[in-house]
Symmetry: D2
Amino acid sequence: MEPTTPQEACFEAGIKFGTLYHQFAGTPVSPESAPSLARAMEEAIENQPFCSSVSVEILEDTLAAELADQSADYTELTGRFMEVEIAVDYDGVDVLATMAMDGDYPRMELQRVGD
Amino acid sequence: MEPTTPQEACFEAGIKFGTLYHQFAGTPVSPESAPSLARAMEEAIENQPFCSSVSVEILEDTLAAELADQSADYTELTGRFMEVEIAVDYDGVDVLATMAMDGDYPRMELQRVGD
Amino acid sequence: MEPTTPQEACFEAGIKFGTLYHQFAGTPVSPESAPSLARAMEEAIENQPFCSSVSVEILEDTLAAELADQSADYTELTGRFMEVEIAVDYDGVDVLATMAMDGDYPRMELQRVGD
Amino acid sequence: MEPTTPQEACFEAGIKFGTLYHQFAGTPVSPESAPSLARAMEEAIENQPFCSSVSVEILEDTLAAELADQSADYTELTGRFMEVEIAVDYDGVDVLATMAMDGDYPRMELQRVGD
């Protein structure tokens, strides 16, 4: 069947999440550089069509714990170190989606579609 | 409202497209290396949950035309050089989505949701 | 032959350039989001070992000219839109390297090694 | 001082390593998709100037051990899962460089410069 407008809105939200994760995963990150990286991720993804807002929180405690256990004083950005919320407005349909750890897996999930 | 299963299927399809594009955009590519890159992109994305198949076609004519106009004998992969088809099966809902150039923009689109 | 300390310093400078370019190439960018992206690139790469400073300048005029010619109001970051300077200090050997367009190719070059 | 030819050769080798790592880190990978990814990485980097050969070995045992400990049946490519050898020939100067784990850090190292 032809996709509906809400389905297209959900597809757009998925694109933003895949983009955010795979553009920035692997970036060298430390507690000092986390704020500028989070801000750049938000503003980069907000450029994409239909994206009304992006919020990236780098989990500084999780990051600090990782660094305490290893030899280098930075690591690579991965899903374990961030929580993300993305809002899409596609032809009047609002979608809210999030990413957070679900056990050991960074789960991207639709939270709300439409009103 | 709570997302429906077909909406979640579309969200998953979007994630795969964002991943594919932003993981591999920027990769050095030439006509010689295009087949191995296309194959790796397909198999990498097929690892993701609910992804039943991925087909990546590198547009070798477009790539050759670009190389004829520039000094280096390779370039960076971008949307202009590929067409992609991704099939998702999420809880029994099949989604087919594609990427191709729409004028100067690499358009990712849902083609079919469910039966 | 065994590498010398200045050769190792140059190798380190090269790593930083390859990292910066291929981590961030493909990022959605517009004149509005360029400053946060430039800052994040600088701070991310400065995390790497032996890296004393990184300066990224997004060429806003070149970016604006590109956007005037296309349908979308953002594009993907690539070498044409930035000039970069990276300083490395490896075991007391300073290296300065730059990236800028050389005709149609983003040329990464050593400028100075040691005193 | 002006860089010497061997120093420039080492800079080029560093660029290739930074490119390889940060282009492909984060790629979804499993034992089944590892061979196609390794091949694509080799051929992609061999496109770059002065690069005579690239060898990527995905460490399938390390990868399998990681997967046995987690819920998903794939993971993201990172330094822990690969060993890489890159040969550069720059104006007649051969450089051999490698990447392998050094404790918990993926160490990129010059092995040999010139004859």
